[in-house]
């Protein structure tokens, strides 16, 4: 449905002002006015009035009944990531609300715009240890951009307007609104819904300072060896085109953070790979070779920087970010370019001299050749009978052409998928970057599909992570999300095993995880599936999975003790990255 049609139908389907409605109806009216079409949730005692009202909104709001509230919020995150819109999750009080906490923390650190609505006990019972009462506001304070408890229905329209505004503007983040049951039931004179566009104590973005942009341009123009790092800020700022024009003008080599993946197509000639602990060889080594480091919409996470006191000490750092608290937090910037990169990048591009950096770019390509020789060749085209995770991703790339949305869980398969998956367009990579939440993959993939139902959504998950939220197969079964689940099974908690091998004398402590018959489990949920143990069956099995109309689970048995390389070991410098 186009935006235009939506606006037209909005008038006819929403409740007119000056009508008596309940707090619950006001919640749903707010969602419709905010353009929400899908809600992920789970009912319970304290949110029952909202669910009762939802009964009459069935034709306007799609509600996906998840199997666990954590699944609900991860789905809302996945939805936000592929659609670029606000994801919405409902949960009841007490355990319902506390089950959201992992997802809130994940959304907070990865800047996902999410609005959670939780039910709460009657206001008169607050603080009495009532049944299913928990102090959700205090519990969620450190993991929300904003939270608020509503005890009076008249507040609902304005509070929800503020919630959506805060969640999606500036550096996005999760917002939780806790609504007591009396407020949900209370009837009040509805004055209509007004969207929020200003909160006096809140600055979505700092004002752009022209002198900083000019100073940044001067430093970049003087650079002999400029190197661009890009993060999710490009995607969140919808600045993919502006970014491309910026790097193309003078041919700057550019590397992605995990969260920045797909902001620039992987086969773009200036894309030199991924940064970080399991990123590519060239961008890590060259971080300590460049003379100017241009960081755009990224936050210098420790998995990106490695040892800080040996990180890019030779370089002048130009840092573009919308969040002033990120500038100088971990890495000192020579010039802080505060602001929305959608605004600052074109300003900067206009001031750039056209300088040829081909020879410098070539140095990246030389290092890349080394990585191909030492790591990538064997990972993508193994010479033994044991299948690698990398070759599964390579086959997948060949079949999808890079058009699919790749959702991952956390661990070895995640790093392999992020390293090798091909992305043609933005918003194609959904992964838990900052929090590293195992169990994220399956529910996030469900939400990712609702966010973009016309695209192929492939959830790549390990045998450990799938078992953390496997119950969401029930959600797929009931609502028919077309998610392709690809389990890369190495019969280990692989990443922990890799660390135990490398740093704990191979003392494999509780990483040996057994799995159920995943295909049989899927079958129990009426989801088709298959298992591949030999290379000869891989391609056709992947093809069957992709061509299958509907959800599908494919389990691929891969090498038990394969490691992900290259690797920047903890406590070492990015330039000390090891190839084996």
């Amino acid at each position: 449905m186009s935006t235009l049609e939506k606006t037209e139908t909005l008038e006819a389907t929403t409740i007119a002002a000056n009508t008596q409605i309940s707090g619950s109806q006001a919640v749903l009216e707010a969602l419709i006015h905010e353009g929400v079409d899908t809600v992920f949730g789970y009912p319970g005692g304290a949110i029952m009035p909202i669910y009762d009202a939802l009964y009459d909104y069935n034709d306007k709001l799609k509600h996906i009944l998840v199997r666990h509230e954590q699944g609900g919020i991860h789905a809302a995150q996945g939805y936000a990531r592929t659609s670029g819109r606000v994801g919405v999750a409902f949960a009841t009080s007490g355990p319902g609300a506390t089950n959201l906490v992992t997802g809130l923390a994940d959304a907070m650190i990865d800047s996902n715009p999410v609005v959670c609505i939780t039910g709460q006990v009657f206001a008169s019972l607050l603080g009495t240890d009532a049944f299913q009462e928990t102090d959700v506001i205090n519990i969620t304070t450190p993991v929300t951009k904003w939270n608020y408890q509503v005890t009076d229905a008249t507040e609902i329209p304005s509070v929800l307007a503020k919630a959506f505004y805060i969640a999606k503007t500036g550096r996005p983040g999760p917002v939780l609104i806790d609504i007591t049951k009396n407020a949900q039931l209370q009837l009040f004179d509805y004055e209509g819904y007004n969207k929020c566009n200003h909160v006096r104590s809140y600055r979505p973005a700092p004002i752009v300072r022209k002198e900083y942009v000019e100073e940044a341009a001067r430093i970049i123009n003087e650079a002999k060896k400029p190197f661009v790092l890009f993060g999710q800020g490009i995607i969140l700022g919808k600045a993919e085109e502006e970014f491309k024009r910026f790097i193309e003008k003078s041919g700057f080599p550019a590397a992605a953070t995990v969260m920045g993946l797909s902001a620039l197509p992987t086969d773009h000639p200036l894309h030199v790979g991924m940064l970080g602990m399991h990123g590519n060889y060239a961008p890590n080594v060259m971080t300590n070779e460049c003379d100017v480091l241009i960081a755009i919409g990224m936050r210098f996470d420790d998995r990106v920087t490695g040892r800080l006191d040996k990180y890019a000490k030779q370089a002048k750092i130009v840092h573009l970010d919308i969040d002033p608290a990120e500038i100088d937090k971990n890495v000192k910037a020579a010039v802080p370019v505060w602001g929305d990169c959608k605004e600052t990048l074109p300003m900067l591009t206009a001031l750039l001299d056209k300088i040829d950096h081909t020879a410098w770019l070539q140095q990246f390509r030389e290092l890349e050749k080394e990585e191909i020789k030492e790591v990538i060749n064997e990972e993508l085209n193994p010479t033994t009978d044991i299948m690698t995770m990398g070759e599964v991703i390579r086959e997948l790339n060949e079949l999808t052409g890079g058009d699919a949305v790749i959702v991952t869980d956390v661990g070895q398969h995640q790093m392999v998928a992020c390293r090798y998956a091909k992305y043609n367009q933005s918003k194609s990579s959904v992964t838990s970057g900052g929090l590293g939440t195992m169990g994220f993959g399956l529910p996030a993939a469900i939400g990712a599909w609702y966010g973009t139902p016309d695209r192929d959504v492939i959830a790549i998950i390990g045998d450990g992570g799938i078992q953390m939220t496997i119950q969401e197969l029930g959600t797929i079964m009931q609502f028919g999300a077309k998610v392709k689940i690809l389990i890369l099974n190495n019969e280990f908690l692989g990443m922990v095993r890799q660390w135990q091998q490398l740093f704990h004398d191979k003392r494999y402590s509780f990483v040996n995880i057994t799995s159920p018959d995943f295909v049989a489990v899927a079958k129990g949920y009426y989801i088709d599936g298959n298992k591949v143990t030999e290379r000869k069956d891989l391609k056709s099995a992947l093809k069957t999975m992709l061509e299958h109309d509907g959800s599908y689970l494919l389990e691929v048995m891969v090498g038990k003790e394969n490691n992900v390389f290259p690797m920047v070991a903890q406590g070492t410098s990015v330039s000390e990255i090891r190839l084996k």
Partner: protein, 196 residues
């Protein structure tokens, strides 16, 4: 970097839960708050936090950015002691017989500018206000006798060169961000790597 006393002044909306949001920023980083005062400010409806910590300037600057990131915080300032007029208040409960018998205790209190708040036949309550060291000295002196109860209030401080928050608030109420909310100068000292 040298640690020293910094007083952080935060202007916020007067909403429930702000103390939690703000103190969480410190406790998460294992930074001890030495004193915390919340009060109304010069602007109606705007709350003022005064927080005393001992940290390096760089840590304090970063803390202030994290504080300002909170949706309901309007502005956070940090100042060293010489940029402030500041005071702390203290109450002392001393046995009446000690005062009666030992006249020099009374002299001592006069010397420190303490005022009598309550006189009873069993105890007397004195009050004084001043800098921490003055209060500490008096506390130490009185500790030699029978100090029944002692309490010191949180630091409150006025920023010497501040023009107050009225004008600033007007800027916040306008929809366009004010140009001076960015207060960072070019940072070209690249030698120290900071970890918070």
């Amino acid at each position: 970097m040298e640690k020293q006393e910094y007083t952080i002044t935060v202007y916020t909306e007067n909403t429930i839960g702000m103390i939690g949001r703000i103190t969480g920023i410190f406790s998460r980083r294992k930074i001890n708050i030495e004193s915390l005062n919340t009060s109304p400010s010069e602007v109606d409806g705007i709350h003022r936090f005064t927080i005393l910590i001992s940290e390096s300037e760089e840590v304090v600057r970063k803390l202030c950015r994290q504080i300002e990131k909170q949706v309901e915080v309007l502005k956070a300032y940090f100042n060293t002691n010489d940029e402030l007029i500041w005071q702390e208040q203290a109450l002392y409960k001393v046995p009446a017989d000690v005062i009666a018998e030992k006249a020099y205790v009374e002299r001592l209190l006069r010397q420190y500018g303490a005022n009598v708040v309550v006189i009873r036949n069993d105890y007397i309550v004195f009050e004084t206000a001043g800098h921490r060291e003055e209060i500490d000295r008096l506390t130490a002196e009185l500790g030699k006798y029978k100090l029944i109860e002692f309490v010191r209030g949180a630091r409150i401080a006025i920023i010497k060169d501040s023009a107050g928050f009225h004008a600033k608030l007007k800027q916040f109420e306008e929809e366009e961000p004010a140009p001076d909310i960015v207060e960072n100068e070019f940072l070209d000292q690249r030698d120290d790597v900071f970890t918070m």
